[in-house]
Protein backbone atom coordinates (compact mmCIF):
# COMPACT_ATOMS: atom_id res chain seq x y z
CA UNK A 1 0.00 0.00 0.00
CA UNK A 2 2.80 2.42 0.91
CA UNK A 3 4.55 3.74 -2.22
CA UNK A 4 8.33 3.36 -2.40
CA UNK A 5 10.07 6.49 -1.12
CA UNK A 6 12.14 7.88 -3.97
CA UNK A 7 14.83 9.50 -1.80
CA UNK A 8 14.69 8.73 1.93
CA UNK A 9 15.75 11.66 4.11
CA UNK A 10 18.40 11.33 6.80
CA UNK A 11 18.15 13.54 9.89
CA UNK A 12 21.16 15.26 11.45
CA UNK A 13 21.08 16.83 14.93
CA UNK A 14 24.15 18.94 15.69
CA UNK A 15 24.68 20.03 19.31
CA UNK A 16 20.96 20.63 19.72
CA UNK A 17 20.02 22.38 22.96
CA UNK A 18 16.67 23.50 24.30
CA UNK A 19 16.14 25.54 27.44
CA UNK A 20 12.80 26.48 28.95
CA UNK A 21 13.24 29.35 31.42
CA UNK A 22 16.74 28.22 32.35
CA UNK A 23 15.87 24.52 32.57
CA UNK A 24 17.50 22.26 30.02
CA UNK A 25 15.15 19.97 28.09
CA UNK A 26 17.99 18.96 25.75
CA UNK A 27 21.75 19.34 26.23
CA UNK A 28 24.03 19.36 23.18
CA UNK A 29 22.40 16.36 21.49
CA UNK A 30 24.24 15.22 18.38
CA UNK A 31 22.76 12.38 16.36
CA UNK A 32 22.67 11.23 12.79
CA UNK A 33 19.73 9.16 11.61
CA UNK A 34 20.60 7.49 8.32
CA UNK A 35 18.12 7.50 5.41
CA UNK A 36 15.72 4.57 5.72
CA UNK A 37 16.67 3.87 9.34
CA UNK A 38 13.98 3.05 11.94
CA UNK A 39 15.04 4.59 15.25
CA UNK A 40 13.25 4.30 18.58
CA UNK A 41 13.78 6.98 21.23
CA UNK A 42 13.33 5.67 24.74
CA UNK A 43 13.52 7.34 28.10
CA UNK A 44 11.54 8.34 31.13
CA UNK A 45 8.95 11.12 31.11
CA UNK A 46 10.74 14.46 30.81
CA UNK A 47 13.88 12.96 29.29
CA UNK A 48 13.54 15.15 26.17
CA UNK A 49 12.02 12.76 23.62
CA UNK A 50 9.05 14.97 22.71
CA UNK A 51 11.20 18.10 22.57
CA UNK A 52 13.67 16.38 20.25
CA UNK A 53 10.87 15.24 17.93
CA UNK A 54 9.19 18.68 17.89
CA UNK A 55 12.53 20.29 17.08
CA UNK A 56 12.98 17.77 14.26
CA UNK A 57 9.49 18.68 13.00
CA UNK A 58 10.53 22.38 13.17
CA UNK A 59 7.68 23.17 15.52
CA UNK A 60 10.11 24.23 18.25
CA UNK A 61 13.16 26.38 17.59
CA UNK A 62 16.25 25.01 19.39
CA UNK A 63 18.06 27.31 21.83
CA UNK A 64 21.31 26.16 20.23
CA UNK A 65 22.54 23.81 17.53
CA UNK A 66 20.95 22.79 14.29
CA UNK A 67 18.70 20.14 12.69
CA UNK A 68 18.92 19.36 9.01
CA UNK A 69 17.61 16.76 6.60
CA UNK A 70 19.65 15.22 3.82
CA UNK A 71 18.28 16.24 0.45
CA UNK A 72 17.45 19.78 1.49
CA UNK A 73 18.67 22.53 -0.76
CA UNK A 74 19.63 24.66 2.24
CA UNK A 75 17.40 27.57 1.34
CA UNK A 76 15.25 29.43 3.86
CA UNK A 77 12.03 28.97 1.91
CA UNK A 78 9.56 26.32 3.11
CA UNK A 79 9.58 24.76 -0.36
CA UNK A 80 13.33 24.12 0.00
CA UNK A 81 12.82 22.01 3.08
CA UNK A 82 11.99 18.36 3.64
CA UNK A 83 8.56 18.12 5.24
CA UNK A 84 8.50 15.16 7.59
CA UNK A 85 5.23 13.54 8.60
CA UNK A 86 4.49 14.08 12.28
CA UNK A 87 2.26 12.19 14.69
CA UNK A 88 2.12 13.78 18.13
CA UNK A 89 0.60 12.98 21.53
CA UNK A 90 -2.46 15.02 20.51
CA UNK A 91 -4.36 13.91 17.43
CA UNK A 92 -3.81 17.20 15.53
CA UNK A 93 -7.19 16.90 13.79
CA UNK A 94 -10.41 18.89 14.22
CA UNK A 95 -13.19 17.33 16.27
CA UNK A 96 -15.81 19.51 14.51
CA UNK A 97 -14.90 18.20 11.04
CA UNK A 98 -15.47 14.74 9.62
CA UNK A 99 -12.56 12.38 9.03
CA UNK A 100 -12.79 13.09 5.29
CA UNK A 101 -13.00 16.88 5.75
CA UNK A 102 -9.97 16.81 8.05
CA UNK A 103 -7.85 14.89 5.58
CA UNK A 104 -9.04 16.96 2.61
CA UNK A 105 -8.19 20.16 4.51
CA UNK A 106 -4.61 19.09 5.18
CA UNK A 107 -4.21 17.53 1.73
CA UNK A 108 -5.22 20.81 0.05
CA UNK A 109 -2.99 22.87 2.35
CA UNK A 110 -0.03 20.70 1.40
CA UNK A 111 -0.83 20.79 -2.29
CA UNK A 112 -1.44 17.04 -2.61
CA UNK A 113 -2.36 16.17 -6.19
CA UNK A 114 -5.88 14.76 -6.66
CA UNK A 115 -6.66 15.18 -2.94
CA UNK A 116 -10.03 13.36 -3.08
CA UNK A 117 -8.42 10.19 -4.45
CA UNK A 118 -5.53 10.31 -1.99
CA UNK A 119 -7.87 10.85 0.96
CA UNK A 120 -10.17 8.00 -0.12
CA UNK A 121 -7.16 5.68 -0.43
CA UNK A 122 -5.83 6.65 3.01
CA UNK A 123 -9.23 6.28 4.65
CA UNK A 124 -9.39 2.79 3.22
CA UNK A 125 -5.85 2.09 4.45
CA UNK A 126 -6.77 3.08 8.02
CA UNK A 127 -10.10 1.19 7.77
CA UNK A 128 -12.25 4.29 8.23
CA UNK A 129 -14.05 4.43 4.88
CA UNK A 130 -17.42 3.65 6.45
CA UNK A 131 -17.01 6.42 9.04
CA UNK A 132 -15.47 8.95 6.66
CA UNK A 133 -18.53 11.25 6.88
CA UNK A 134 -18.72 11.11 10.69
CA UNK A 135 -17.47 13.96 12.86
CA UNK A 136 -14.18 13.11 14.51
CA UNK A 137 -15.63 14.04 17.91
CA UNK A 138 -17.80 10.92 17.68
CA UNK A 139 -14.72 8.68 17.26
CA UNK A 140 -12.99 6.56 19.88
CA UNK A 141 -9.40 7.47 20.80
CA UNK A 142 -8.11 4.65 18.63
CA UNK A 143 -10.08 5.83 15.59
CA UNK A 144 -8.84 9.39 16.11
CA UNK A 145 -5.30 8.08 16.20
CA UNK A 146 -5.92 6.38 12.85
CA UNK A 147 -7.07 9.70 11.38
CA UNK A 148 -3.96 11.33 12.87
CA UNK A 149 -1.72 8.77 11.21
CA UNK A 150 -3.57 9.12 7.89
CA UNK A 151 -3.02 12.91 8.11
CA UNK A 152 0.71 12.39 8.58
CA UNK A 153 0.83 10.05 5.58
CA UNK A 154 -0.93 12.43 3.15
CA UNK A 155 2.21 13.55 1.38
CA UNK A 156 3.90 10.12 1.47
CA UNK A 157 6.75 11.71 3.48
CA UNK A 158 10.34 10.57 3.17
CA UNK A 159 10.77 10.89 6.95
CA UNK A 160 8.23 10.26 9.67
CA UNK A 161 8.36 11.47 13.28
CA UNK A 162 6.08 9.75 15.76
CA UNK A 163 5.65 10.69 19.41
CA UNK A 164 4.26 7.67 21.24
CA UNK A 165 2.07 6.71 18.29
CA UNK A 166 0.46 3.76 20.10
CA UNK A 167 -1.28 6.10 22.59
CA UNK A 168 -4.92 5.07 22.91
CA UNK A 169 -4.68 2.10 20.57
CA UNK A 170 -5.90 -1.33 21.66
CA UNK A 171 -3.90 -4.47 20.84
CA UNK A 172 -5.60 -4.74 17.43
CA UNK A 173 -4.78 -1.08 16.72
CA UNK A 174 -1.17 -1.59 17.78
CA UNK A 175 -0.86 -4.55 15.41
CA UNK A 176 -2.34 -2.43 12.61
CA UNK A 177 0.09 0.43 13.41
CA UNK A 178 3.05 -1.97 13.53
CA UNK A 179 2.03 -3.29 10.10
CA UNK A 180 1.70 0.24 8.70
CA UNK A 181 5.08 1.31 10.07
CA UNK A 182 6.69 -1.89 8.79
CA UNK A 183 5.33 -1.07 5.34
CA UNK A 184 6.76 2.43 5.57
CA UNK A 185 10.13 1.18 6.78
CA UNK A 186 10.28 -1.37 3.99
CA UNK A 187 9.32 1.37 1.50
CA UNK A 188 12.45 3.29 2.56
CA UNK A 189 10.85 5.91 4.80
CA UNK A 190 13.05 7.10 7.67
CA UNK A 191 11.29 6.59 11.00
CA UNK A 192 12.12 8.32 14.28
CA UNK A 193 9.69 7.56 17.08
CA UNK A 194 9.44 7.75 20.83
CA UNK A 195 8.08 4.75 22.71
CA UNK A 196 7.66 3.59 26.27
CA UNK A 197 9.13 0.12 26.71
CA UNK A 198 9.19 -2.79 24.29
CA UNK A 199 6.25 -3.65 22.07
CA UNK A 200 5.29 -4.95 18.67
CA UNK A 201 6.22 -1.52 17.34
CA UNK A 202 9.65 -1.33 18.99
CA UNK A 203 10.44 -4.70 17.36
CA UNK A 204 10.60 -2.81 14.04
CA UNK A 205 13.51 -0.68 15.21
CA UNK A 206 16.90 -1.00 13.60
CA UNK A 207 18.38 1.27 16.26
CA UNK A 208 17.53 2.32 19.82
CA UNK A 209 18.52 5.57 21.49
CA UNK A 210 17.98 6.29 25.16
CA UNK A 211 17.66 9.80 26.51
CA UNK A 212 17.97 10.85 30.11
CA UNK A 213 17.73 14.42 31.37
CA UNK A 214 18.15 15.73 27.85
CA UNK A 215 21.28 13.81 26.94
CA UNK A 216 21.88 10.62 24.96
CA UNK A 217 22.84 7.87 27.42
CA UNK A 218 22.50 4.87 25.13
CA UNK A 219 22.68 4.26 21.38
CA UNK A 220 22.75 0.80 19.86
CA UNK A 221 21.67 -1.29 16.90
CA UNK A 222 22.53 -4.67 18.40
CA UNK A 223 19.59 -6.93 19.36
CA UNK A 224 20.41 -7.70 23.00
CA UNK A 225 21.67 -4.19 23.75
CA UNK A 226 18.57 -2.80 22.05
CA UNK A 227 16.32 -4.47 24.62
CA UNK A 228 18.39 -3.03 27.43
CA UNK A 229 18.30 0.48 25.91
CA UNK A 230 14.55 0.36 25.33
CA UNK A 231 13.79 -1.12 28.75
CA UNK A 232 16.07 1.35 30.53
CA UNK A 233 18.34 -1.23 32.12
CA UNK A 234 20.71 0.21 34.64
CA UNK A 235 18.40 3.04 35.71
Amino acid sequence: MTPRVASPAGIRFENVEKRYAGLYALRRVSLEVAPGECVVLAGRNGSGKTTLLRIAARLVRPSGGNVSYSGESGGEKASDRVRPGFVAHATMVYDELTAEENLLLFARLQGVERPEERVAALLAEVSLTERSKSLVRTFSRGMRQRVAIARALLTAPSAMLLDEPATGLDSQGISWLAGTLRGMRDAGCTLLMSLHGESEISALATRGIRLDAGTVVGDTNAGADMSAVLAGAGE
Binding site: R54, A57, R58, L59, V60, R61, A78, S79, R83, F86, A88, H89, A90, T91, M92, V93, Y94, D95, E96, L97, E101, L105, F106, R108, L109, Q110, G111, R151
Partner: protein, 224 residues
Protein backbone atom coordinates in the same frame (compact mmCIF):
# COMPACT_ATOMS: atom_id res chain seq x y z
CA UNK B 1 0.91 26.14 -2.52
CA UNK B 2 0.45 29.89 -2.67
CA UNK B 3 -0.40 32.10 0.27
CA UNK B 4 -3.80 33.00 -1.14
CA UNK B 5 -4.70 29.38 -1.95
CA UNK B 6 -3.77 28.27 1.58
CA UNK B 7 -5.72 31.22 3.02
CA UNK B 8 -8.78 30.27 0.97
CA UNK B 9 -8.66 26.66 2.18
CA UNK B 10 -8.25 27.74 5.81
CA UNK B 11 -10.99 30.37 5.55
CA UNK B 12 -13.32 27.66 4.27
CA UNK B 13 -12.49 25.59 7.35
CA UNK B 14 -13.11 28.55 9.70
CA UNK B 15 -16.49 29.29 8.12
CA UNK B 16 -17.53 25.65 8.01
CA UNK B 17 -16.77 25.05 11.70
CA UNK B 18 -18.50 28.29 12.79
CA UNK B 19 -21.61 27.97 10.65
CA UNK B 20 -21.91 24.33 11.74
CA UNK B 21 -21.95 25.26 15.44
CA UNK B 22 -22.92 28.99 15.27
CA UNK B 23 -21.44 29.27 18.78
CA UNK B 24 -19.58 32.54 18.29
CA UNK B 25 -22.21 34.39 16.27
CA UNK B 26 -25.09 33.49 18.56
CA UNK B 27 -23.20 34.35 21.75
CA UNK B 28 -21.90 37.63 20.38
CA UNK B 29 -25.25 38.85 19.01
CA UNK B 30 -26.98 38.09 22.32
CA UNK B 31 -24.14 39.79 24.22
CA UNK B 32 -24.37 43.01 22.14
CA UNK B 33 -28.16 43.16 22.50
CA UNK B 34 -27.79 42.90 26.29
CA UNK B 35 -25.13 45.65 26.32
CA UNK B 36 -27.23 47.98 24.13
CA UNK B 37 -30.31 47.43 26.29
CA UNK B 38 -28.30 48.08 29.45
CA UNK B 39 -26.80 51.26 27.96
CA UNK B 40 -30.30 52.46 27.04
CA UNK B 41 -31.23 52.40 30.75
CA UNK B 42 -28.57 55.00 31.55
CA UNK B 43 -30.27 57.84 29.60
CA UNK B 44 -33.37 58.55 27.53
CA UNK B 45 -32.57 56.86 24.22
CA UNK B 46 -35.17 58.93 22.38
CA UNK B 47 -33.52 62.25 23.20
CA UNK B 48 -30.77 64.14 21.35
CA UNK B 49 -28.31 62.45 23.67
CA UNK B 50 -28.81 59.29 21.62
CA UNK B 51 -27.25 60.96 18.58
CA UNK B 52 -24.39 62.36 20.67
CA UNK B 53 -23.54 59.19 22.58
CA UNK B 54 -25.08 56.47 20.41
CA UNK B 55 -22.10 55.90 18.14
CA UNK B 56 -19.72 55.64 21.11
CA UNK B 57 -21.98 53.15 22.86
CA UNK B 58 -22.34 51.16 19.66
CA UNK B 59 -18.58 50.87 19.16
CA UNK B 60 -17.96 50.09 22.82
CA UNK B 61 -20.45 47.26 22.51
CA UNK B 62 -18.69 46.07 19.33
CA UNK B 63 -15.30 46.12 21.05
CA UNK B 64 -16.52 44.16 24.07
CA UNK B 65 -18.16 41.68 21.71
CA UNK B 66 -14.96 41.43 19.67
CA UNK B 67 -12.91 40.60 22.76
CA UNK B 68 -15.43 37.83 23.45
CA UNK B 69 -15.41 36.62 19.86
CA UNK B 70 -11.63 36.66 19.39
CA UNK B 71 -10.88 34.70 22.56
CA UNK B 72 -11.50 31.20 21.11
CA UNK B 73 -9.79 32.03 17.81
CA UNK B 74 -6.50 30.30 18.76
CA UNK B 75 -7.74 28.53 21.90
CA UNK B 76 -9.75 26.21 19.64
CA UNK B 77 -6.51 25.18 17.95
CA UNK B 78 -4.96 24.12 21.26
CA UNK B 79 -7.40 21.38 22.21
CA UNK B 80 -5.93 18.85 19.78
CA UNK B 81 -2.74 20.74 18.89
CA UNK B 82 -4.21 21.47 15.47
CA UNK B 83 -2.14 24.65 15.27
CA UNK B 84 0.95 22.45 14.96
CA UNK B 85 -0.72 20.52 12.15
CA UNK B 86 -1.47 23.81 10.37
CA UNK B 87 2.10 25.07 10.87
CA UNK B 88 3.43 21.83 9.38
CA UNK B 89 1.07 22.09 6.40
CA UNK B 90 1.12 25.69 5.19
CA UNK B 91 3.97 27.11 3.17
CA UNK B 92 3.59 30.54 4.80
CA UNK B 93 2.32 30.86 8.41
CA UNK B 94 0.80 34.25 7.49
CA UNK B 95 -1.96 32.23 5.77
CA UNK B 96 -3.12 31.03 9.20
CA UNK B 97 -3.46 34.63 10.39
CA UNK B 98 -5.00 35.87 7.16
CA UNK B 99 -7.70 33.19 7.25
CA UNK B 100 -8.49 33.80 10.89
CA UNK B 101 -8.63 37.57 10.59
CA UNK B 102 -10.76 37.35 7.45
CA UNK B 103 -13.18 35.02 9.26
CA UNK B 104 -13.20 37.26 12.35
CA UNK B 105 -13.82 40.37 10.23
CA UNK B 106 -16.69 38.62 8.49
CA UNK B 107 -18.23 37.43 11.77
CA UNK B 108 -17.90 40.90 13.29
CA UNK B 109 -19.44 42.51 10.21
CA UNK B 110 -22.38 40.08 10.29
CA UNK B 111 -22.90 40.83 13.99
CA UNK B 112 -22.69 44.59 13.42
CA UNK B 113 -25.08 44.60 10.46
CA UNK B 114 -27.55 42.40 12.36
CA UNK B 115 -27.42 44.76 15.33
CA UNK B 116 -27.64 48.01 13.39
CA UNK B 117 -31.45 47.89 12.91
CA UNK B 118 -31.88 47.04 16.60
CA UNK B 119 -29.72 50.04 17.51
CA UNK B 120 -31.58 52.30 15.05
CA UNK B 121 -34.95 51.37 16.53
CA UNK B 122 -33.89 51.42 20.18
CA UNK B 123 -32.04 54.74 19.94
CA UNK B 124 -34.32 56.32 17.33
CA UNK B 125 -31.48 57.02 14.92
CA UNK B 126 -32.17 56.83 11.15
CA UNK B 127 -29.46 54.83 9.39
CA UNK B 128 -30.89 53.88 5.98
CA UNK B 129 -29.61 56.99 4.18
CA UNK B 130 -26.03 56.42 5.26
CA UNK B 131 -26.06 52.61 5.30
CA UNK B 132 -23.35 52.27 2.64
CA UNK B 133 -21.02 54.62 4.52
CA UNK B 134 -21.75 52.86 7.81
CA UNK B 135 -20.94 49.53 6.15
CA UNK B 136 -17.57 50.95 5.06
CA UNK B 137 -16.79 52.19 8.59
CA UNK B 138 -17.88 48.87 10.08
CA UNK B 139 -15.60 47.05 7.61
CA UNK B 140 -12.55 49.24 8.29
CA UNK B 141 -13.13 49.18 12.05
CA UNK B 142 -13.77 45.43 12.12
CA UNK B 143 -10.67 44.75 10.02
CA UNK B 144 -8.50 46.71 12.47
CA UNK B 145 -10.09 45.05 15.48
CA UNK B 146 -9.69 41.59 13.92
CA UNK B 147 -6.09 42.15 12.84
CA UNK B 148 -4.93 43.34 16.25
CA UNK B 149 -7.21 40.88 18.02
CA UNK B 150 -6.10 37.84 16.02
CA UNK B 151 -2.44 38.65 16.72
CA UNK B 152 -3.06 39.13 20.43
CA UNK B 153 -5.26 36.03 20.59
CA UNK B 154 -2.32 33.95 19.34
CA UNK B 155 -0.21 35.32 22.21
CA UNK B 156 -2.82 35.06 24.94
CA UNK B 157 -3.75 31.49 23.97
CA UNK B 158 -0.29 30.34 25.08
CA UNK B 159 -0.32 32.27 28.37
CA UNK B 160 -1.67 31.58 31.82
CA UNK B 161 -4.81 33.55 32.75
CA UNK B 162 -5.54 33.65 29.03
CA UNK B 163 -9.23 34.59 29.50
CA UNK B 164 -8.20 37.82 31.23
CA UNK B 165 -5.13 38.56 29.19
CA UNK B 166 -6.80 39.13 25.83
CA UNK B 167 -9.19 41.94 26.90
CA UNK B 168 -6.39 43.49 28.98
CA UNK B 169 -4.11 43.67 25.94
CA UNK B 170 -6.75 44.25 23.32
CA UNK B 171 -8.90 47.06 24.64
CA UNK B 172 -6.08 49.60 25.22
CA UNK B 173 -4.57 48.77 21.84
CA UNK B 174 -7.89 49.35 20.12
CA UNK B 175 -8.46 52.78 21.67
CA UNK B 176 -7.37 54.58 18.47
CA UNK B 177 -9.85 52.50 16.44
CA UNK B 178 -12.59 53.20 18.97
CA UNK B 179 -12.01 56.95 18.77
CA UNK B 180 -11.79 57.10 14.98
CA UNK B 181 -14.73 54.77 14.35
CA UNK B 182 -16.88 56.59 16.88
CA UNK B 183 -16.13 59.99 15.33
CA UNK B 184 -16.84 58.81 11.78
CA UNK B 185 -20.04 57.02 12.88
CA UNK B 186 -21.19 60.07 14.89
CA UNK B 187 -20.71 62.28 11.82
CA UNK B 188 -22.82 59.85 9.76
CA UNK B 189 -25.58 59.76 12.40
CA UNK B 190 -25.66 63.59 12.68
CA UNK B 191 -28.87 65.47 11.77
CA UNK B 192 -26.92 66.69 8.73
CA UNK B 193 -24.80 63.61 7.96
CA UNK B 194 -21.31 64.07 6.54
CA UNK B 195 -18.31 61.86 5.82
CA UNK B 196 -15.33 62.43 8.11
CA UNK B 197 -12.55 61.57 5.66
CA UNK B 198 -9.82 62.16 8.22
CA UNK B 199 -11.27 59.40 10.39
CA UNK B 200 -11.63 57.02 7.45
CA UNK B 201 -8.03 57.72 6.45
CA UNK B 202 -6.90 56.97 9.99
CA UNK B 203 -8.77 53.63 10.00
CA UNK B 204 -7.20 52.66 6.66
CA UNK B 205 -3.73 53.58 7.98
CA UNK B 206 -4.29 51.60 11.20
CA UNK B 207 -5.35 48.54 9.22
CA UNK B 208 -2.36 48.75 6.87
CA UNK B 209 0.15 49.19 9.73
CA UNK B 210 -1.23 46.25 11.75
CA UNK B 211 -1.54 43.98 8.71
CA UNK B 212 2.06 44.73 7.74
CA UNK B 213 3.27 44.08 11.31
CA UNK B 214 1.40 40.79 11.37
CA UNK B 215 2.85 39.79 8.00
CA UNK B 216 6.39 40.57 9.22
CA UNK B 217 6.25 39.12 12.73
CA UNK B 218 3.30 36.68 12.67
CA UNK B 219 5.57 33.62 12.32
CA UNK B 220 7.20 34.36 15.68
CA UNK B 221 3.82 34.62 17.41
CA UNK B 222 3.02 31.03 16.46
CA UNK B 223 6.24 29.55 17.82
CA UNK B 224 6.15 27.47 20.98
Amino acid sequence: MSLLANTGVLLGKELKTEFRSRELLTTTVVFIIIVLVLFSFTFDPLSDEARRFGSGLLWLAFLFAASLMLQPCFLREQANDTLSALRLSVSDPFAIFLAKLAANTLFLMITELLLLPVFAVMYSVPVLGVLHWLTLVFFLGSLGVSTAGTALSSISAQARMRELLLPLLLLPMLTPILIASTEVTAALLDRSPYVLWKGIGFLVAFDIVFLTALWLFGEYLLEE
